[in-house]
Each structure stands twice: as C-alpha cells, then as structure tokens.
Symmetry: C2
Subunit: 346 residues, 2 copies
DNA sequence: TGGGTCAATAATAGCGCTACGATTAATTTG
DNA sequence: CAAATTAATCGTAGCGCTATTATTGACCCA
C-alpha cells in the first residue's frame, strides 16, 4: 500500500451538466474549436461544424454566458434603466429595443429608477457589475456619482427620451420644450388666446416640466400669459378630470389647453363631457403621447406623438454598430422628432 | 545575462480596472475576507469590515457578477418572459417584481415572447445560459422543448398569470374562465339576458379565450346562448369601437356585453356615446383589467380587476425564499384571485 | 498549564469559457 | 521541388470571483 503522499479527497464544486468540453469530446474536436464555431461559424470547416452542431443538439448544450463574459471581459447583456415600465412611453421603447437586440442575441437587463436619481445611481452600479455591452439611461439628468461611474466605461452609454442638455455619451430623443411650443402654436393657430397647461407629476418628471415650459414660453412670445394647473401624482385620467374642473373654476375663460400627456387629456375630455363643455367649440384640447385610445375617444384627441419605438430601435442600432467594431466618434445626438396629430379635439 | 529559459512575453488579457484583490490589498486583508465581507458581513470583524468598506469606497470598487456567478454556479439574475411589456398587465407585474427583487440585489432579465411558443423556447434557452436564480414565464402553455429545458433545473420555475393547467413547477395567477363566469353572472344578476362577448386577439391570447369560454359556459348554464364578436388584432379602444358597432348590427337586441379587456370596453363605451346608446340602461358593459382610465370614463366602467402586482410580489417572495434555502415542496399553486369592481356601466 | 473550543482570517483550487499564439496540414508559387 | 503562404485546429493561460479546507490566535475551564 502506498500511503506516501496520500492526497486528501478533492473538494467538490458545483457544476453545469453539459459543458463545452463535453460537446468537443463528442464532436471529436478541441474545446477551442467548439468555442470558435459558436462565435465565428464561418471560420470552422464544414465537417467540423456539422459534427459540433450535431453534438450540441444531442447533448442539449446551453453555453454558460457567465463564463463566456468573464473570459471575454464583456457580456451579452444591455442594461436599460427607465423610470417605470408601467409608463406606456417607456414600455414602448423597452419593447422595441428588446425586439431589435434579440437578433444580436443580446439580453435586456431592466431597472426602474422611479424618477429617483439615487435609485438610478444604485442601479447603474448594479448594471455595471454585469459588464454589459451597453448602458441605456432615461433622460439627461443624473447624480454626479452616476456620471462619474459612466464617464470612463468603454461601452456605449445612451441617454434616451431627452435632448438638449449635457450628455454623457450619446443621446437619442427629442426636445420636450419644442413639444410644448408646438402645442401652444397649434392652439394659437386655431384662434385660441386663453391658454392653459394641465400637468401631472411635474416636480419629478423633468420632461413633462420641459413641455410645460416650452408651452408657456411660446405663449408668452405670442403675448399670451398662459396658466398652469398641476397635480403632484402620476398622470391618470382621473387626475385629468380633476385638473380640468379645477382649471375651469380658476380660469373660466380658458379656451385652449395642453396636457402633459394623453392620460390627462383623456380625463379632461371625460370631464368636459360630464360638464357639457363642447370640445373643441368651447375648449380645444391637445395631448401628448398618442396613446392607444387617443384616436378613438370622443372627440378624437389632437396629440403630439413622440417616437418611442424609434428611440428603442435607434439605440439598438447604435449598440449593434459598436459591437461590430464601428467607431463611436465622440458625443452624438439623434433627434427622433415628434409629430402633431391634428384630430377633432382642437 | 540569464538567457536560459527566456520566456516569451506573456499574452495580455482584458481586465477590469479595480478587482477584489485591489480592495484586499488596500484594506490589508486577504481577498477571501473581502469576498466573505461582501457575502456575509456579520462573519467579519468590525475592524476588518471598516477597513474593507473604506477601501471599497476609495477605489470605487464594483464587483464582477459574472465572475461571482461563475464561481458560485448561479447568478443574481431572474429571467422573466412575458408576451410584451407594452401590455399594461404584464408591465404591472414586471414592475412590481423588479421593485421587490431589487431589495435582494437581484436583477431582472426581460424577454418578450409575443405570444409565440417558439420565440419563448429560444428565450428560455438564452435565459438559462445566464444561470439565473429563477425563471418566470407567462402562462401554462409552452412548447415541449421549453418544458424539457425547464424540467430538471434546480431553480424555481414560476408560471404567472394563469392557473388551471399542467404546470412545470409553481404557478401564480388566477383562473381566467372564472373571470368570464363572474362577468356573465354579474350581467345576469343585473337582469340582462342577451349576452355577448367582445374579444380581441383570442387566437393568440389563450387567457382572453379562457375568459370568453367561461363567459359562454356560465351563460349557457343560465339558459342563455351568448354571442361572440371578435377581432384578430391586439386589443385597443379603436377595435373596441368597431367590435361594438358590428355586434349591435349582428345582434341588435344585445343588452349586456363583456369585453376581453378594458381597452375594448373603453372603445365600446366611446362607440355607444357616438351612437347615443344609453349605458347601462340600454346596454350594460363589463371590462377586464381595471386600467387607469376605467374608473374615470363615462360612465365609470364595471370591470374585473386582476392582481397583476400581487402576482409579481408573490413571485418575488417565492424566489427570495428559495434563495434563503427554504424548501420548495413540490408543485405549488398560488391563486391571487380577482375582484369585480361594480361601477355605473352595468 | 495544557488540551479543547471557537472566531476570524487565509490559502487553495477551480467555475466554463475565450483570446492568443502555436502548430499542423493543405495549397500555392518562384 | 523547396520555400512561402494560407486554412484549420489546438494548447495554454488566465478572466475575477466563491466555496471549502486549513490555519492562526484568543479564550476557556478543569
């Protein structure tokens, strides 16, 4: 008996059922070749390719992205941080982005900032620990620490849904103040002179505030002192109804209103109907968002339609380009614009 | 000069700026202790803890979750697959789940199946390659391969938003046919006898179909042959309006309708208003979803409210429990119920 | 006072994969 | 026909971390 150098029992580790080596063994090639096949199939001979894919099928092999990401120092994840996916605007962007990224086999890691910069900072930290292929944030306003965290990363940092402020890397969106301007100019063009803005949650939602500011400014430029009536909570039809009633109580001669979004506008229309206020004869209403109900309501709502899914697609396109090694030449800005849908409410 | 054994220059690798070893060095402890501190702070002495957290702050250290996940054979990611986050129901669940999981420092990886089992299968495969802490799917109907992929994983597999079929592991949701039953019984209780169901996308949305079926069955049980009018596209107010017009053309004596969801119901209300059909006097309307506008419209909509955010919270709770080592004793089922909100439309 | 216990820390051995250079085989060309 | 090129494949050395075992020192009590 050789009790010389008796080794203690090896310590056990957790493991994955089927690894790349298993595939390699079954396919009679080296693990390197399997890896190469998975990453650049065109660099592997037809015979080897065939053997490998057969082995993969047979073993039901699922590659371990953690191991791959660790070795390659970057993962196939894209982190996207939005205020909330409950908000139809961001849901649209997230959805279109996920669809576009799927083709690149990139996965979306989702985070909700709830309009809180502190929360966002924490989420950015968590996001970065995945070594993502890109980070997507909402808006241009972030904490100093967030900015610092993202300043020197080698991956694309994309800020969406806002344009017109200092940006970290690339921004994709539009100018919200211009939305307000467009709404005001439209109402003025329709002959309205007593303008009012109905806003929700504007202390938190910077972009709603910008739309409001643009509206006021354009009115002022036309010699009109537009009013504002607002509510601190999240936009909803219910709040829209309340706001409209309050607005008409405070400013009974109002003849044109713009709303921070279509939920508010819808609520305003409901209130008008209940109070027998003729829209648009007595009061013109303009919304923002062109949500699913906006063309169907009574009367159909004039609204400004942002391009939420274009934003997502453009972001995905940029990320893809970066992945394929295209140069990102300094801070870029993509204006996805918006369009005014003129319907019968104005 | 020792030119014996001249080594070729080591090949360079990509890297992370600050690693755990850097922290350990600065804090004058071993990397093991830093790792321990990060995972079980209570097992590390106060002095060491202090030194380590100081070092982490100073270096702005962000742990690499890929490395951690690889070593631990499981990641801090939870994969959630829903038809689409554009759908307010799933947005709600995703949102509440993300909020709950955030406390456990778990991240959500999102995928959209678009009601396609093949797509779902591919997404499950991608999801598993992250070695997630749990997988959440929508509904109980999946491809055979999906089922096979998930059958033997050691993590929780949670199916949400549907109950009443064969489940993989745990299901959290409610019985959609019971929703249909509740709607029918409510309308019958209100004295309606000429019932009709307005449905959208029912060939793809199994759960909408189940609600419809439950409705028809309950009507039949009461001796009523309820009608169905449907549209293949995604539910929207516009389609709701169209469907209502068509329904009344085909079945002019209808006096009670249930809708596959509140978008459809809202559109139906809009159409009624335009066509001067008195709701509820001439026609009672019941929706499903209790969406943000449902209490505010004219008349306020009677609807069945599912518990989308409870589903998300329960799922998060289960995942958390599993993470803390609690036993999952066989297939489980959590019925989150629904409630009928009786408002003036019926 | 000496073994036993416990708390705190450290050393070790991978997790599964990719990147890089090295090797071999196949093909071209002066 | 040898040298040079190209195509295909392989071997090696980690990526940054965790889990496990080993080690250290402090404290206890008979």
């Amino acid at each position: 008996m050789d009790n010389t150098m008796r080794k203690p029992p090896r310590n056990r580790r957790k493991m994955q059922s089927v690894t790349m080596s298993d595939v390699a063994e079954l396919a009679n090639v080296s693990p390197s070749t399997v890896s190469l096949f998975l990453r650049k199939p065109e660099a592997v001979s037809a015979t080897a390719s065939q053997a490998i894919s057969r082995a993969i099928d047979k073993l039901n092999y699922v590659p371990n992205l953690m191991a791959g990401g660790l070795a390659a120092a970057s993962s196939r994840a894209v982190s996207i941080l939005v205020p909330s996916v409950r908000n139809a605007f961001f849901a649209e962007t997230v959805s279109s982005m996920q669809t576009a990224l799927k083709k690149q086999r990139l996965q979306l890691i989702l985070g909700h900032t709830e309009y809180d910069e502190q929360e966002e900072e924490e989420l950015v930290r968590m996001a970065l620990s995945w070594a993502p292929a890109a980070v997507v944030l909402t808006g241009l306003s972030h904490s100093a620490a967030t900015r610092r965290l993202l300043a020197n990363v080698a991956i694309p940092v994309i800020e969406i849904w806002e344009l017109g402020g200092p940006q970290i890397d690339t921004a994709i969106g539009f100018h919200h103040d211009q939305v307000g301007v467009a709404a005001a100019e439209h109402l003025i063009g329709q002959g309205r002179r007593n303008l009012l803005f109905l806003g929700a949650r504007m202390h938190q939602d910077r972009r709603a505030k910008q739309r409001c500011d643009g509206f006021l400014q354009a009115a002022r430029a036309a010699g009109i002192a537009a009013k504002v009536v607002e509510h601190p909570d999240t936009a909803s039809a219910e709040i829209g109804s309340m706001l409209l009633s309050e607005a008409l109580r405070l400013h009974p001669d109002t003849d044109g209103i713009a709303c921070s979004n279509d939920h508010i506008a819808l609520g305003a229309l409901f209130a008008c109907e209940r109070q027998k206020i003729a829209v648009p004869d007595r009061l013109a209403v303009v919304g923002f968002g062109d949500l699913s109900f906006s063309a169907a309501c009574n009367p159909p709502l004039t609204t400004i339609r942002p391009s939420g899914d274009l934003i997502g697609r453009e972001a995905a396109r940029l990320i893809e380009a970066h992945l394929h090694g295209e140069k990102t030449d300094g801070p870029r800005q993509i204006d996805t614009r918006f369009t005014l849908q003129h319907r019968r409410s104005s």
